[in-house]
Symmetry: C2
Subunit: 538 residues, 2 copies
């Protein structure tokens, strides 16, 4: 038995999975639900009298440690896998989730004099309070004509690394001054595992404007944001970034004690959850789009060359797999949008989906723009809102449910067409994440609307499997991630092909979608932004 361990750090919990390197069999899994969950109202006890501002979202770094201490030993015990049979460990994480620490890695929130300071804690990916900083980052970059800006669709998000770092400087300069390191939580966790600070090229490439050829933005740019920010990289980060699959180090004694693994077990450099999923779906070459379908929808694609695709989240050389440019696009609402409607009308996804599946395309006379959570690609505009048109007194809840599903599929088709316009073929799609297994109706609509065959990943835990595969590569079990994928990654039996009978109707509906998409999304009619302004008040 030669097994690899993958640990997927999510929003509410961490999941450890042990995988047989011979054939990818998942030997077992173990979940640790974070004791302090998402910290978005007040700090954890005993400091729960410290309330947070709106749009804040923090985590407790000790929850990551407790995940290692709890989930891993339990997994070894439950599967009966011996520590010496674990050939390598990989970690994937939400991103950008980042924290300030001392030079030795101690999180500032563990210090007695800073624990009541919200800026000393981990800023979770969905911390949305750094929009003023993101606006400044974008404005200064545009003014200076920074070369990295087009790689990110012309605009970076308030969720990203330097927006969050700059918010610490803006709002809590004393915390910023004490922060000897500013680091992605994925890299911090690998640091705890190995005792050595290493940093992931994937996280830095997608969230910190780093590229293999050009490095980070220049100090002069950071100085234009704030003179005190000029040397943020050299003083608080690192210019050494390791690509996916590189060995970050061996498991340190302390982490061996936490986990029950052997000291010295190889640990891979950290990875971002979406990106770790790609090889776990069997995709290791260009031409196949990976869709990670959960509350939101991530679209990842490999390319041979650098192309500027409209509205990408980012393109990073070696960001997903070595040797390729990794493209990331996305829809900021997918399962979230359907869940909103189910909450609104009651009932269940299953019941609404079953009734929706019986309708013919176009039968409802409805059309939606799927922007309940803004538009991440290709418009890159968080201010956009949802739209639904075509209701009559006879319109039913399953009809609206179906229109919402169709609208997200139309949104994906817009992204697929943006890739193809830039010369990046999308010949097929592989889906993973929480939605595909449970929703054949959803998958058929996506296949019909995009006109692509859609395969479904065999693993329900694609990020953790991907992390384990990278752990196996770091442990020398495979020469390359391609070899690891051949052995360990599989597709499920479920596969969807476009129904030619639906093609014409969906082409007609899509033409309407695109016209409204462009009208409301590209400035032709500004009602959504105007409504937001009115909403925010005078």
């Amino acid at each position: 038995m030669r097994a690899a361990l993958g640990i997927d750090f999510g929003t509410e919990s961490a999941r450890a999975v042990l995988v047989d390197c011979a054939d990818g069999t998942e030997l077992g899994e173990s979940v640790y639900a974070y004791a302090n969950g998402v910290v978005d109202a007040h700090l954890p006890a005993p400091d729960d009298d410290v309330e947070l501002e709106p749009h804040w979202a923090l985590q407790d770094p000790d929850d990551y440690v407790r995940s290692l201490q709890t989930a891993v030993p339990r997994l070894l015990a439950e599967t009966g896998v011996a520590a010496e049979d674990v050939v390598g460990v990989g970690v994937d994480f939400t991103s950008c989730t980042m924290l300030p620490t001392l030079a030795d890695g101690t999180p500032l929130c563990r210090l007695d004099d800073l624990r009541r300071e919200p800026h000393a804690w981990v800023k979770l990916w969905k911390h949305h309070a750094a929009q003023p900083e993101a606006d400044r980052i974008n404005a200064v970059a545009a003014e200076r004509g920074e070369a990295w800006l087009p790689r990110y669709g012309g605009k970076i998000s308030s969720e990203w690394f330097f927006a969050k770092a700059l918010q610490i400087l803006d709002e809590a300069p004393e915390v910023y001054a004490r922060a000897e390191r500013l680091i992605e939580a994925c890299d911090w966790t690998v640091w705890q595992l190995t005792g050595v600070e290493t940093r992931s090229a994937c996280a830095a490439g997608y969230k910190a404007m780093w590229s293999k050829r050009e490095g980070f933005p220049p100090s002069a740019y950071f100085a234009d944001l704030d003179p005190r920010f000029a040397h943020v990289v050299d003083e608080r980060m690192s210019r050494t970034l390791l690509p996916p699959g590189a060995r970050a180090g061996g498991l340190c004694e302390r982490a061996a004690e936490w986990t029950g693994l052997r000291a010295g077990t190889p640990v891979a450099v950290a990875n971002v959850d979406f990106h770790a999923s790609v090889p776990a779906t069997t995709v290791t070459e260009p031409g196949t789009l990976v869709m990670i379908m959960g509350t939101s929808n991530g679209h990842l694609l490999l390319g041979e060359q650098l192309a500027f695709v409209e509205g990408m989240c980012g393109v990073v050389e070696d960001g997903i797999l070595p040797g390729y440019y990794g493209y990331e696009a996305g829809q900021s609402g997918l399962g979230d949008v359907y869940a909103w409607f189910v909450r609104m009308v009651g009932g269940s996804h299953e019941a609404l989906g079953a009734e929706a599946a019986r309708l013919r395309p176009g039968e409802s006379g409805l059309l939606a723009l799927d922007w309940w959570n803004g538009n991440r690609s290709v418009l890159v505009d968080a201010d956009l809102r949802g739209l639904l048109v075509g209701m009559t007194l006879a319109t039913t809840a399953p009809e609206i449910y179906r229109a919402l599903v169709e609208s997200t599929a139309f949104g994906t088709r817009v992204i697929v067409e943006a890739f193809e316009r830039a010369g990046l073929a999308v010949d097929g799609i592989v889906a993973c994440g929480g939605m595909p297994d449970r929703n054949p109706f959803l998958m058929q609509v996506f296949s019909d609307v995009t006109g692509r065959e859609i395969a479904v990943a065999g693993s329900r835990q694609a990020p953790a499997l991907g992390a384990a595969m990278w752990g196996a590569v770091a442990g020398g079990e495979f020469e390359s991630i391609g070899d690891a994928a051949k052995a360990m990654a599989h597709l499920s039996d479920a596969a969807y092909a476009p129904d030619p009978a639906n093609r014409d109707v969906y082409d007609r509906l899509y033409a309407e979608y695109v016209r409204l998409h462009d009208l409301f999304g590209r400035g032709g009619d500004d009602v959504m932004r105007t409504l937001k302004r009115i909403q925010l008040g005078p």
Copy 2:
């Protein structure tokens, strides 16, 4: 005691009300629910094996007779009003609701050889199967430049008299041949009461393209529709139309027996329900808009002169009150739209309304176009559909409920502004119908959005009260309907004034509404019609 009797014939039932002529006190009411209700699936037993086509809606004329036989004697018994104290009888009715009869008034559906023929029955106002005939009526009128067309906003509805009559000729020429009379149900009912055929100028003016100055359209026009239709007016109708308040005759012996009233009791010429409501709300002069708020919303206004107002349902000289032009506009969905949403999400109007009332205008970031049942005024387009924009994952059901209420108020403001553009002042509004009493929140939104004070009629039975008032005029109790209104019509204590604090936000939201209204309603973006075409299939 001097009392007047009003009988309101509705869609599902008839309601008789006795009113004290001295002060308008409603002495009692009595409702008869039609035994055969709305006939829209199959004919009544024993002919219930005869199925109806989609969009058909019939009634049984014997239900009108049973109403007279049941509701009126019960009302007299329950109130203790003596027959000799009833000074007059008035009738109001849904319209256009029409039927074919023999020369003596016998409905064709009572004839043994025709009772299984659907075209022999009463076509109810919401019989929507005559659209091909309405299309022909409009096309031929436009081609010939018929002078009456602009009085009806350029387009007549499939609900109206000649569309229904022409459908009989088209689809059942043998029934048409047997129809010695084609008559509004309101006029037929007055005929049953008096034994004399008289016809209402109100119904003819609003539903049969008649006007006091020009009469009916010329025979040449009818001949262009169908040569057999050339003399429909002279052969099957009447050119003698009586204005509201005229005396149709005295109660005949047979009707006296049915009702328990005295033979010879004066009976007023029939009226249409919306139009009968106007004096019952105290409005007998120009300047005050009457809103009849139920499942739909009717807007009635008096004017000194003939003006062409965009998208009116109709303008008829003496059509509402003698001496004035009566203008009618409307919104085809009001309570129906709110009820659709309540059905969709569960809960109640009361609970959703209470939560919606606590929101500030604009707080939800939502905006709707209220066309769930098409647009009756000012766009006159039944193909238009509903639209809702601005949803986020945080949008709640009360927010949508409020947006729907606001959208109907915006729709009313469009109508108010169309009146004012044509030179017809709308200085204030009086509301009646099913909604105002129960929904202070709704009324406040309408007042804020229109910027008008809104009074509420004192009677919950405005049509029946209006019918009784016309009965009192016909009975000589008052010289004019103005005098009757002074004595018998009252406002309730409820009154609403625009809140100046909301004015700016509503002006901004209304500007957005108007832009989307014009974009989707005037051909700028044709998505609603396109979706309907896709829905109907190839």
